[in-house]
């Protein structure tokens, strides 16, 4: 049987500061080596100061993954030399003296299969290495320490996956979960990384590292299973080793160093006293834990009668489900859900657009109300949405500014219809034979009114004018 286990690293990007100092947790957009201080640079004499919110956010993850959580946590030093590590050790966690890491023995359901979580720990991200120079002689390794010390949660699963597809599905669920908990923005480059270990029936465990994206992870696992199977078929021994994912060639390559022999000389980090997490704190976290995606979904279906498919899309996205909750007043929930999934999601399809957007819940509920009461057409509603996103003005104001109000006044509409009928003499003739042509003329009226004409009234008036039934 194929066994796949994962080690996921997730940055707590929603935190203000790094794990042990006050530099920014989200280092993106800084010039290299400007988001640093004596602590995250490991300057002699500096001391780590634990970010308590990081402990809370990490505990929240552990709780959401059904983990056991400790009464007190400890930090350890993992010692090894690497240029991206300012101190040449990483402050991390280890269950050496009882369970002192953020969480353990959790579980999550993926495609009706239970995936067990072995351990969750809180640790610091190292800096970033950038390789430059083409030839061996001019090759440079540059180090950017902006990332060093960013709070990182490591989630280790049991080898419970059997297919690459399950792996992919799990990562999707996990990344939605982390986003929903408001602890991380998994969409940010490098915010979520994963290593995998793969073994097939009777073979040794092979670790795959250096995988850039979740998409590649699925591919890497797939490649590795195929590689191991073809070795097994030819009766070649599968050795226990670490392999790196070669992004260019899309294959795994044996790592030259034997990483399993690494000697980390773990010992307690004495600069950070043990942190108590008492029952009261845990209860508080539990009480304030954001509603889970599955419970949200269920609620949307049972309480509001939203279709399962729409509820699924809406609940798994933190931003849009929040928008939904703000906009709906229970009577209009279905319409709001539909408007968000059919119109708004398309308009706000990137993180940047969402950040720039001025759209509020009230805008959406107003818009739904306006459509219902025939004050605006669906077509005009789209124009109004575009404008709201840009400037955030009240809907009534925007309708006035853009002159989007419904033309339902019979006299005005009749004038426009006369105009259209004069211009479209041929269509008028045809329409008498073929009633479908009437719709074409309705379209023309819409064009002239930039979508503002009341479609039902237009149809009635047109038919009356043409003398068709």
């Amino acid at each position: 049987m194929t066994k796949i286990g994962l080690e996921i690293h997730c940055q707590l990007t929603k935190l203000e500061s790094k794990l042990f100092c006050s530099c920014k947790a989200d280092y993106r957009g800084f010039e290299p080596n400007t988001n640093i201080c004596p602590v995250c640079m490991g300057i002699p004499g500096s001391l780590p100061l634990l970010n308590k919110s990081a402990v809370e956010k990490a505990t929240l993850i552990a709780m959401a993954l059904d983990c056991k959580t400790p009464n007190r946590i400890a930090f350890f030093r993992k010692n090894y030399f690497y240029p991206d590590l300012p101190k040449n050790f990483q402050i991390t966690q280890l269950n050496a003296y009882g369970n002192t890491s953020i969480g353990w023995e959790g579980k999550i359901s993926v495609e009706n299969k239970e995936i067990k979580i072995r351990r969750i720990q809180l640790e610091e991200d190292p800096g970033r290495l950038i390789y430059e120079g083409a030839t061996e002689k001019t090759k440079l390794t540059l180090v950017d320490y902006n990332r060093a010390g960013t709070p990182l949660v490591e989630i280790v699963t049991e080898p419970d996956f059997e297919t690459p597809h399950q792996v992919r599905e799990f990562l999707n669920i996990l990344s939605d979960l982390l986003e929903n908990l408001n602890v991380s923005d998994p969409g940010l480059e490098g915010a979520m990384r994963a290593d995998a270990n793969v073994s097939i029936d009777g073979g040794s465990k092979v670790e795959i590292k250096n995988i850039g994206s979740f998409h590649d992870l699925e591919k890497a696992v797939h490649f590795e299973i195929t590689r191991q199977q073809s070795l097994a078929e030819r009766k070649i021994e599968i050795i226990q080793e670490t392999r790196h994912w070669d992004d260019g060639r899309k294959i795994t390559v044996s790592a030259r160093t034997k990483e399993e022999e690494a000697e980390y000389r773990y010992h307690l980090e004495a600069d950070i006293p043990w942190v108590r997490i008492d029952d009261n704190t845990k209860n508080q976290l539990q009480v304030h834990m954001p509603e889970s995606i599955s419970s949200k979904k269920e609620r949307y279906v049972s309480k509001y009668g939203i279709t399962l498919q729409v509820a699924d899309i809406l609940s798994s996205d933190r931003y849009f489900s929040e928008l939904f909750e703000k906009a709906n007043n229970e009577t209009n929930a279905k319409d709001i859900a539909n408007m968000i999934t059919t119109d708004i999601m398309g308009l706000l399809d990137t993180r940047e657009k969402r950040e720039m957007s001025k759209l509020e819940g009230d805008h959406i509920s107003d818009l739904v109300e306006y459509i219902k009461s025939n004050k605006i057409t669906r077509a005009s509603a789209k124009l109004a949405l575009d404008e709201v996103i840009k400037n955030g003005k009240p809907l009534s104001q925007i309708i006035e500014d853009l002159d989007l109000g419904h033309v339902s006044d019979e006299a005005t509409l009749s004038d426009i219809i006369t105009e259209v009928l004069n211009e479209e003499a041929k269509a008028v003739e045809d329409a008498k034979q073929n009633p479908d042509i009437v719709n074409f003329l309705v379209g023309k009226v819409m064009q002239k009114t930039r979508g503002k004409a009341d479609p039902e009234l237009t149809l009635v008036l047109l038919k009356k004018n043409l003398g068709v039934k």
Binding site: I43, P44, L47, F81, P83, Y266, A270, I272
Partner: protein, 482 residues
């Protein structure tokens, strides 16, 4: 003007207009230039000392608020960071390291208007007990310059003993304040772990070390502890000292107190005859002061030195790993090197004792050997703590000679690491258990000092200083002969 005055008398002298800060600072600098060529207490002298002195004089003259140090010259061990100036840890590896920030203890001294007169010599990265492992040459004992001053805060001990300054700050990982205090005949206090912020102290073994005062008198030690102690938002291991005023009631005496004489630390086989005599004499003194002295055995003390070196090497191996000469350090061109060969080249600048401990620190906690060494050492530490907690239920203080022997000559022990380590026998227990301990000058025998160590329970500095003061009042020692 007497450069040998205590901190408290210095403050009185300034208040009574007997001398100005500038006059005293100038005299101290003169003294340093006269004697330090021979003693080598200082690695660097503060160029701004006179300027600082004038500023404080101006404050005094214009009746502005003046901090309670009134410009007294204080020397600082060169493993404590001061922004914009070098902190070398007496190592070639940090030859050009300029700290980008100031340690908490220095900030506290500065806000009380102390003058940092200079940075003092130490064994490289505070590993040693004679200053012979300083990369910049050893310091010499002012009582007899053929002898070591102790260490690792040897430069600090010498600077106070030779009246080059009023007081000093050292650091104590296994006796590094108390050992040179004993060897140089000054008072040295290792506070409770967490009482004084370590922010800005270059770590050697961070789970057990503390910054502490080295001073001419017990009262001066109390005065300085008042200033430097307390909770610090930059050090998560600091504890609240509940605004103790250590000088208050310092003369309360020790009548009726219970003192345990630690059997393992006063074993005649381990002590030199002169140290044994002085110790027995001190016990009599304590009894004369009204205390009840009784032998008490701490079984784990026998393993304390072994546990100490195992734990400190492990932590040192980790704490000193950052010295790869990439972000700071010394001039060394990296071009043409592969990463691992660059750092091993860069790290070859460490001196022999640091290298010894790096090797030990790579071995004792390693996966194959931790069970036999590092884990056992942690067990000893934890049992020792249990023992200490137990004896302090019965005793107020524990006593021993600070060091089992008197100062030794240069080179006498340097080639025998194990006998070197045994010099720490009486001091490491306080570090492993986190309790405060003080060394009080007690005798000069054959022209060389002997100090007595008093230990108390955690955060009992107040009563510890009372006991030390009581003992100090009974002794009358000669002037330093330099």
């Amino acid at each position: 003007m007497d450069l040998g005055i205590s901190a408290l008398n210095y403050v009185n002298g300034i208040k009574n207009n007997e001398f100005t800060v500038e006059e005293f600072t100038l005299k101290s600098l003169e003294r340093i230039s006269q004697v330090d060529e021979k003693l080598h207490a200082f690695l660097r002298v503060n160029d701004l000392a006179i300027k600082n002195a004038r500023e404080i004089d101006t404050k005094i003259k214009s009746n502005q608020n003046v901090g309670k140090c009134y410009g007294m010259p204080i020397s600082i061990k060169d493993n404590i960071c001061i922004e914009g100036s070098k902190t070398t840890c007496a190592s070639k590896v940090l030859e050009n390291f300029i700290a980008p920030y100031t340690s908490t203890v220095i900030n506290k001294l500065n806000s009380e208007d102390a003058i940092i007169i200079g940075k003092t010599n130490l064994d490289e990265f505070a590993m040693g007990l004679s200053t012979e492992f300083s990369a910049y040459g050893p310091s010499r004992n002012p009582w007899n310059t053929d002898y070591v001053p102790g260490g690792s805060s040897g430069g600090s001990g010498v600077s106070v003993s030779a009246n080059e300054c009023i007081a000093s700050l050292g650091s104590d990982t296994g006796g590094s304040i108390r050992n040179p205090a004993s060897f140089c005949s000054v008072v040295g206090l290792k506070p409770t772990y967490g009482l004084v912020s370590r922010y800005g102290l270059v770590s050697y073994a961070n789970s057990i070390e503390q910054i502490g005062p080295m001073a001419k008198t017990v009262k001066d030690s109390a005065f300085l502890l008042d200033i430097i102690s307390g909770i610090d938002s930059n050090d998560n291991t600091t504890v609240d000292n509940k605004n103790q005023d250590y000088l208050t009631d310092i003369d309360a005496g020790i009548n009726g107190k219970k003192i345990g004489i630690v059997t393992e630390m006063t074993n005649p086989d381990g002590l030199s005859t002169d140290v044994l005599d002085a110790t027995n004499d001190a016990i009599k003194t304590f009894e004369n002061l009204g205390a009840n002295c009784e032998q008490v055995s701490l079984e784990m003390v026998r393993y304390a030195v072994a546990a100490y070196y195992t734990i400190t090497s492990t932590e040192a191996g980790s704490n000193l790993a950052r010295y790869d000469n990439i972000r700071y350090g010394y001039e060394f061109d990296s071009s043409g090197f592969e990463f691992n060969s660059y750092i091993s080249q860069a790290r070859s600048k460490f001196g022999p004792e640091v290298i010894r401990r790096m090797i030990l620190g790579g071995f004792v906690p390693s996966a194959g050997h931790a069970g036999k060494y590092f884990s056992k050492a942690l067990k000893v530490k934890s049992k020792l703590i249990t023992e200490i907690n137990h004896v302090f239920e019965k005793f107020d203080f524990l006593i021993s000679p600070t060091v089992p022997i008197q100062p030794f000559k240069f080179g006498e022990k340097i080639n025998d690491p194990v006998s070197f380590m045994m010099v720490d026998f009486n001091t490491v227990t306080a570090n492993l258990t986190g309790i405060p301990a003080i060394s009080v000058p007690y005798k000069i025998t054959n022209g060389l000092p002997i100090g007595i160590q008093i230990m108390a329970n955690r955060l009992e500095e107040h009563s510890l200083l009372q006991a030390a003061y009581a003992l100090e009042k009974t002794v009358d020692l000669p002037e330093v002969p330099i």
